[in-house]
């Protein structure tokens, strides 16, 4: 099922890509334009994804999906959710707060106690902020309140 869903999603993306590539100037064989190669890639991509989808729909699955155990789904979703949450929060809260929340909540979500999660979360946020922000001079976002 996962394989079919992934194949359908990729086919949709491939068709959108191919459509956008057609809109670019193709040029001629002797003077290929900006769209020449993307069209070739799009046709190749759509063909192989169609072949994949066909084998998946025939039931001769070429991939062997390993199911996520029921008790593990929560941990996987928490990890994915916190990753997206970090990206959304970063411009608003700044790096330190976003990193602290991310690390603390992830540790808690993966099974640490609150105290451990908060201490390691704060320490890792502080250390990474110092390492990248101060030592390597990366201009990490400070958040809307400090800027």
């Amino acid at each position: 099922m996962i394989e079919r869903l992934l194949a359908v999603a990729l086919l949709a993306a491939g068709l959108v890509y191919l459509g956008s590539a057609w809109a670019l100037p193709l040029g001629s064989a002797a003077r290929p334009g900006a769209g020449f190669y993307p069209v070739a890639v799009g046709v190749f991509g759509a063909s192989v994804i169609l072949a994949w989808l066909a084998t998946a729909l025939r039931g001769t699955a070429t991939a062997h999906a390993v199911a996520v155990p029921a008790d593990a789904r929560g941990r996987v979703l928490i990890t994915a959710g916190l990753l997206a949450g970090f990206c959304l929060a970063l411009p608003w809260t700044g790096y330190f707060v976003a990193a602290f929340l991310f690390a603390g909540l992830l540790l808690r979500g993966l099974g640490s106690g609150w105290a451990t999660a908060l201490v390691i979360g704060a320490a890792s946020a502080l250390a990474s902020n110092y390492g990248f922000g101060v030592l390597l001079g990366v201009p990490l976002p400070r958040g809307v309140f400090l800027d």
Binding site: P32, Y37, V41, F44, G45, A72, R75, A80, A99, F102
Partner: protein, 514 residues
């Protein structure tokens, strides 16, 4: 500069204090990431790539290459001691290495593994010197059609050899090639697939894609498996000395593994992994007592361990002589070269000898450091496994996030990291290898440029490309690699095999990174 003069010059570069420290740091990090589940050499190299921006090109490459081959040592340590291969290329080592541990010969297995890796690394350096210099000379005759054919053949070989279904590998290649077209067209400067984003006009960054596919996806697998603790085996220093019989049994497997590994490394694909399987099968075949394999045969440790290190050296040949990477790890090395303003290719040896010879010599120095570092400190390295996995997972993810952001101070890179992390996790669950995607993303822009130049040269006659001998040979190799296995199967069908016996507990980092 001849090979011998070049190597002497290379040692003078590699032994400069800064480069020596970079080499030490690289192999140390490599050993640790090899031991730890959660982040492999590719993820670690991608993570540290931004920190090399301010370094000299030779120093940056020496450090990143150190991580690459250092991880092979670390991966075998956990294979032997706890039956948990730190890397996919150490899976085979666990078969006999762990059995030796159970028989109280862990020290001997570790020592033979370290010496085998050192010998293979040294043989690999000689191989690079000979093969890369020759290949670079040949490559000076290459034009756009040859480069296009080489990249195409590389992708075909990679698709055939990356394991699993060819259709999956082709899908990964298509995604990589498509991603490579995002951004400004290098010839007409027209923006393509940027959806109005200024950041996207510079293209999709390689590093967050790799960090996502390898680092984040791996950590999500750790998150899925929950909290686990490894049982740590302690090894005393005096136990590290193999017996005379063990040395005798290991010497030829090390020699054969070194050569097999180096030659396998030249072929596009998961060379390190493939080399270990080939070396193991070879040792079993030539052994007078093949029934000992799987029961703690030291040849089953010596051959594969030499092979995976030999393969890392072999994989450097196309990168250093042609400027073409055929694996995600060498793709990052190429990225480091480009970032530091160096044009990779056959002229690298003559134009930037300090980079080429410095890196080659540093591999010998790094292997010597690894030998000294790994045996006495094996207990210390293994104790790294005591770090709770969920804490490790959190730290790795945080480093990936801040590392991706620091590339361009861009939110876009963060989203690329997260999207490819979740995508990579899905691929792991479907047992699909993402390495063809990474290599296609790197080779894609070069393929487009050389194809268009070649068509322009031949007045649009695509068949004329096949009239060039090198191009034709390369394309034929690709076609044969792709078509031969199904044809052989059709010609000589294999009878159905009985189900394989249950395998020992092997849970390497997924994917074939190197």
């Amino acid at each position: 500069m001849g090979p011998l003069d070049g190597l002497v010059y290379g040692f003078s570069v590699a032994l400069e204090p800064t480069n020596l420290f970079a080499c030490f740091l690289g192999v140390l990090i490599g050993t640790i990431v090899g031991i730890l589940p959660g982040i492999g050499p590719v993820g670690a190299m991608a993570l540290l790539l931004p920190s090399t921006f301010t370094l000299q090109p030779a120093t940056a490459l020496i450090m990143l290459a150190g991580i690459y081959y250092g991880s092979m040592y670390g991966g075998s340590t956990t294979s032997i001691l706890v039956n948990v291969p730190g890397e996919a290329s150490s899976v085979v080592t666990a078969l006999d290495g762990y059995q030796m541990t159970r028989k109280g010969r862990a020290g001997a297995a570790l020592a033979v593994s370290a010496v085998g890796s050192f010998v293979a690394g040294s043989v690999g350096v000689v191989g690079i010197v000979l093969a890369a210099s020759w290949l670079a000379d040949q490559a000076l005759r290459f034009g756009p059609p040859e480069y296009f054919a080489l990249a195409l053949t590389g992708l075909l070989l990679l698709s055939r050899l990356s394991g699993g279904s060819v259709i999956h590998a082709f899908v990964m290649v298509a995604i990589g090639l498509a991603l490579g077209t995002v951004g400004m067209d290098s010839i007409s400067a027209m923006r393509r697939f940027t959806f109005g984003s200024t950041q996207l006009s510079q293209g999709v960054e390689l590093v967050p894609v790799i960090m996502g596919l390898y680092g984040v996806a791996e950590v999500m697998l750790i998150a899925e498996s929950g909290l686990r603790k490894a049982r740590i085996v302690t090894v005393r220093l005096r136990e590290l000395l193999p017996t005379r019989a063990e040395w005798r049994l290991s010497s030829w497997p090390i020699a054969r593994g070194s050569v097999v590994g180096f030659l396998t490394g030249l072929v596009p694909g998961p060379a390190s992994v493939l080399a270990t399987f080939i070396a193991y099968a070879l040792e079993r075949k030539v052994s007078k007592t093949p029934e000992r394999f799987g029961q703690g045969a030291i040849e089953g440790v010596a051959g594969p361990e030499a092979a995976n290190n030999g393969a890392t050296a072999g994989a450097m040949v196309p990168l250093l002589s042609l400027g073409i990477p055929f694996s995600p790890a060498t793709a990052i090395l190429l990225g480091a070269l480009v970032i530091t303003g160096i044009q990779p290719g056959p002229l690298l040896i003559s134009q930037r000898p300090e980079v080429f010879w410095g890196v080659v010599a540093s591999m010998y120095v790094g292997n010597a450091i690894l030998l000294v570092l790994n045996l006495p400190l094996v207990g210390l390295f293994v104790s790294v496994l005591r770090l709770p996995q969920h804490v490790l997972a959190t730290l790795v993810l945080l480093l990936c996030l801040v590392g991706a952001y620091s590339l361009n101070n861009s939110q876009l890179d963060l989203w690329v990291l997260v999207i490819f992390g979740i995508f990579g996790y899905g691929l792991r669950k479907l047992a699909i290898d993402p390495s063809p995607l990474v290599v296609a993303l790197v080779l894609g822009p070069m393929m487009e440029k050389t194809l268009r130049q070649a068509l322009f040269m031949e007045q649009g006659n695509i068949l004329a490309l096949a009239g060039r001998p090198i191009t034709l040979t390369l394309l034929l190799i690709g076609v044969v690699a792709l078509a031969a296995p199904p044809l052989v199967r059709w010609w000589r069908p294999v009878p159905p095999q009985p189900p394989a016996p249950p395998h020992p507990t092997l849970s390497p980092k997924g994917g074939e990174e190197a």
